[in-house]
Every structure is written in structure tokens, then in C-alpha cells.
Symmetry: C2
Subunit: 278 residues, 2 copies
């Protein structure tokens, strides 16, 4: 594990993984722009390998571990996208993988992790138990534990999404980033702060302000409305957490009044569509 996170680590991660993942497209919608009175740019990580941005961080961490010496196997804890990403990355690298999952995990998500080749370790739904299980198994088996929340290589890999985004859409005023476990926002914020001088300054001051200094919260109903709007207008399938950015744009009009060109990361597309009725 690297000892600090910086833009160089993100650039290294990008060189390491870019040939193995998709360069995902940016979508726009004139109707959504009219509704929000903004120019919105959606980075479609729902089209990414394994259906979410998380492949970026896990693949980077595993490739880096392999570069650094003999890699016997990998383990992480996850209830979904992280587990799929670890399993897929391990299969590409050719090592076995274990995912510690809360025993409350849905069958769909558990099946998806197994389908990518990992072995499941079911645990009580408690983060301390999940972490201890990973640490113990890693020690016993000699596996590399990819800590989803504090491994800098995971964060750096996640940060590559914004490197790519800014290359595709360079003049954004603001970037809205979901905060879950914190790995995405860590990688993104570090990268954006450091590359600031390279890009049009005025714009980037605003990105820094919005991305690093402000947090917005949205509720389930606002997420559900934004998710439906995205699916209806952009015609892409996303999971609920991917709708947070649009939900915030719709809710925080006053707070975002100085941000005109806004980047939103559609983090993943692994929605449960089993209840869909036509």
C-alpha cells in the first residue's frame, strides 16, 4: 500500500489500468439542461467493466500489488460493486479472490460476485467483523487485503475517473461527486486540487470550492425522482447512488447558481430491475 495519495499516484494508476477498462462516454441532454438551467455533463461509469467505477480502484490496487512482488490471492469486504470489481480484477490477473459479504447481501449481488469468480465469505452485517474477517483470512492464506476505504491505490484508481472526465470535458465549473465509503471523493478531490494550475484557473477555483468545500444531502425520494429523470431522458440504466448528482443540482439551485457547466459521475448501473413492469 502506498503511503500517501497525490495526483502522481492517480496518473500512475491511469497508465496501469487504462488499457484494461473502458473509456466511458459523456452524455448530455438538452431537456435536462432546460429543466436545471445548467449545462450538465454525465460521465457514464454505468457502462464501465463490471458496471461501476469501482473496477478502477480495485484493478489498480491489485495490479500494483502484483508489480510489487508475488501475489497469491486477494480479499476484500463488500456488499456489491466492490466485490464484483475485486473478483473481475483477480480473474484478469490470474489469482484467486475472496469477498467477505454481510450475510444480508441480496442473492442478485452475491450471484454477481460469484459469477466474476470470487469465493464468498458470509459474515454478520457488522463492519468491524467484516474487517477482522478480511485481516484474519489475508494473514492465514497469505492474500493481499484490498481495504476499500483506506488503500491509497484504490483511491488513486478511483481518481482516474476524473482525470478522464476533465480530458473529455475540460471547462467544467463544478464537479459533483458522491460520498459513500469516501474512496471516490478522496481520489477525485486530491487529483483536482493538484492539477488545478494546469487548467483554466477561474473555472477550477469553482470546482475546488464546490467539490472540496461543500457537501449537499438528498433524500431517497429526491434520489428516486432524479434516477427516473436520468433513465427517461438519457436512456441509460443507473443504480440509485448514481442519481445523487442530479438530485443535488435539482435541489440546491441557489447554492449552485454560479456553476453553469457541471460534471456528474454516473457511478454505476447495477440496478435491481427485477421489479420492472412493462
Amino acid at each position: 500500500m502506498s503511503s500517501s495519495l497525490n495526483a502522481h499516484l492517480v496518473e500512475e494508476a491511469d497508465s496501469r489500468i487504462s488499457n484494461l477498462i473502458h473509456k466511458t462516454p459523456i452524455l448530455t441532454s438538452s431537456t435536462l439542461d432546460e429543466i436545471c438551467e445548467k449545462k450538465l455533463y454525465f460521465k457514464c461509469e454505468n457502462f464501465q467493466k463490471t458496471g461501476s467505477f469501482k473496477i478502477r480502484g480495485f484493478l489498480n490496487a491489485i495490479l500494483k500489488a502484483k508489480e510489487s512482488g508475488h501475489l497469491k490471492g486477494v480479499i476484500t469486504m463488500s456488499a456489491g460493486n466492490g466485490g464484483q470489481s475485486l473478483a473481475y480484477s483477480a480473474s484478469k490477473v490470474g489469482v484467486p479472490s475472496i469477498v467477505a459479504v454481510p450475510e444480508t447481501v441480496s442473492t442478485t449481488k452475491a450471484d454477481a460476485i460469484v459469477a466474476y469468480g470470487a469465493e464468498l465469505q458470509r459474515c454478520p452485517p457488522n463492519i468491524t467483523i467484516l474487517e477482522e474477517t478480511c485481516e484474519k483470512l489475508a494473514k492465514d492464506l497469505g492474500y493481499y487485503y484490498v481495504d476499500p476505504h483506506s488503500d491509497y491505490e484504490v483511491m488513486a484508481g478511483h481518481g482516474t475517473v476524473v482525470k478522464e472526465f476533465l480530458e473529455q470535458t475540460p471547462d467544467l465549473d463544478a464537479l459533483l461527486v458522491q460520498v459513500g465509503g469516501g474512496g471516490l471523493i478522496a481520489g477525485v478531490a486530491k487529483y483536482v486540487a493538484e492539477v488545478n494550475p494546469k487548467i483554466k484557473e477561474q473555472s477550477f477555483q469553482v470546482i475546488n470550492e464546490c467539490c472540496q468545500k461543500r457537501t449537499f444531502s438528498v433524500n431517497n425520494q429526491e434520489i428516486s425522482n432524479a434516477m427516473l429523470l436520468i433513465m427517461q431522458r438519457l436512456k441509460v440504466v443507473i443504480e440509485p447512488s448514481a442519481a445523487l448528482g442530479l438530485a443535488a443540482v435539482l435541489k440546491y439551485r441557489e447554492e449552485l447558481k454560479d456553476c453553469h457547466k457541471i460534471g456528474i459521475i454516473l457511478t454505476g448501473g447495477n440496478a435491481n430491475l427485477n421489479k420492472l413492469q412493462f
Copy 2:
């Protein structure tokens, strides 16, 4: 209205409309390929302006009519995508539009047509009455009636989807095309038959065989299953009729055993998602 349909008409349509519509992407999925034991290429007309391929034909017919002389207004009959396409095209050209709809049309679809700027003319749900209404209104108002099923410029415009598809994915063995009112298959089949000599012959013999000489039918359950697979795996929103191609590939394995690289047109994305539950 042109007096015959041929590849030249499709090429003219392409020059006329290509700057005003999206060049839609091709998506692939290794999981769907494994399930079907084929290489499948999906042409994403769900991302097209107004959410379906129909903008191609209507826009072409209306632009052609405008080129040919003074255009006072346009009218068509439709219960959905055709009406949206007419309305959008008329607004781009700057003329008023009327869409004769069956009075059973859903509020969602009626609203979408109106949102693009057309006036609705509600009629009893009978195709003869709808046609006669269009003809009478066109005569009384001096509007151009865009007949969705027999106007060669509509068919030629629709045919541009396959011109673009073959340029993006030149070596297909087969192309599966939905048959609704017949406008899409007419434009596609004519174009494919005529440009045959320009493209690798062996492949194209198979395209002709599959596209022009064989029809497959699928039922609602098969369509629903294929629609769910596409939304889960490609992460795109499609309407039920767009799932027909994949439903046929899944059902007619024996009949399609000699076709390895298959093109499928995701015709539209205007699905009713109001019943979606998360």
C-alpha cells in the same frame, strides 16, 4: 413524395439529415455474446433525437418537402414515436404540425408529442379514420401529409440507420430488423440489397438471406425477457419493440446457426418507466 425507393434515395436522405441527428453508438456485451454464442452489435437508436430512429424518416420527408417548394405545415398519424418525430422535425424547419392520434393514446405519449410542439387531433382508434382525418386536414389547411407507411422519403430516411450501422460495423453476417408499419424494413432491405456489391460478398449474401427472406416471430414474454437482459447488461433503457432482435437471436438458434456477427437495431428508448420500483 418520391416515386420509387432505392439506395440513392437513402444516400440523399443521409446527406440531408446527418448533421441534424445523432450518429448513435454501437454497443456490445461479452456476457450477451456468451449467452447467445454470437458476436452481437447493438445500434443505439434509443439515444437518437426524440428517442427513436423515426426522426430519420420524418425529418427527411419534411426537409425534402421544404426543398421542393413552400411548406405551410405538416401532419401525420401516430400513437407515439412518429408523432414526436414529426413535431420535432416541424419545429426545426419552423412550420406548424398536427398529429392525428387515436383517442386511446396514453397521456405520457400525448404529452410528449405536445411537448415537441405539435397540435393533437384525437380520433376514434381506427386506421381508416386516422388516415382520412389526415388527408382531409392536409387538404383543408394546405399542409403536407407525411404518410408513415407509404412515403418513400420516410422509408429512405429510416434506411439511413443501416447505412450508418454498416459504416460503423462493416462485416456483419446478418442484420435483424423489426417489422412494424413496414417503413424501417423497407428502407433497410432496399439499401442493403443495392449496396451489396460494394461490401464483402459472402457476408452480404447472408445478410440478404436473413434480412430479406426470413421472418421470425417472438411473443410478449420473450420480448420482456430480452428487454430485461438488454437493460441489465448493456445498461441502456429501451422500449419493448427494441428488444425483438435479441429475443429472436435467443429463440432461433438453429435458424441463425450460420450467422455469427449479428447486427441488432435498438429502435427506441421511449419506455414507460412510471412503474419502476427501487
